[in-house]
Symmetry: C2
Subunit: 82 residues, 2 copies
């Protein structure tokens, strides 16, 4: 298992409720890929959303986000943290 | 005070020790701008570093990172989190 940071763009105007719903949709199916979405942060002005997850592979993260309708634009493994 | 996510690119090959030292350099002076760097994650392969901070403004975050020699490529306020 490793940590991943993924980035979604074009989410201008996203609300707290929309972020919560998107995160809940991910949480509802994440176990099917052995992924856990730990945290998400959003900047409604630039339309950027960052998600931190623990997962076996970036591919597993990609599949969950695709199935819940919000494909990630970038998914980076982040093996280093401080 | 608000949360900010900033992004550094071009950090290919960054090591755990280099990340730790960069973070420590920020921590050493962050109070001068009333900033606190809470966490940083790095992907040495793509050369991307993400930093999460609490700060009065993006400008304050920018100044601390500049003074410690690692200018951020993007700094986004992230008023929403889940």
């Amino acid at each position: 298992m490793a940590h991943f940071m993924d980035v979604h763009r074009g989410m201008q105007g996203i609300t707290a409720e929309q972020l919560r719903q998107a995160h809940q949709a991910d949480l509802a199916i994440e176990r099917e890929e052995n992924v856990h979405f730990e945290k998400a942060w959003a900047d409604p002005q630039s339309g950027t959303v960052y998600c931190l997850s623990e997962a076996p592979t970036a591919e597993a993260v990609r599949r969950i986000h695709e199935r819940t309708g919000h494909k990630a634009d970038e998914i980076h493994p982040v093996p280093l943290e401080v």
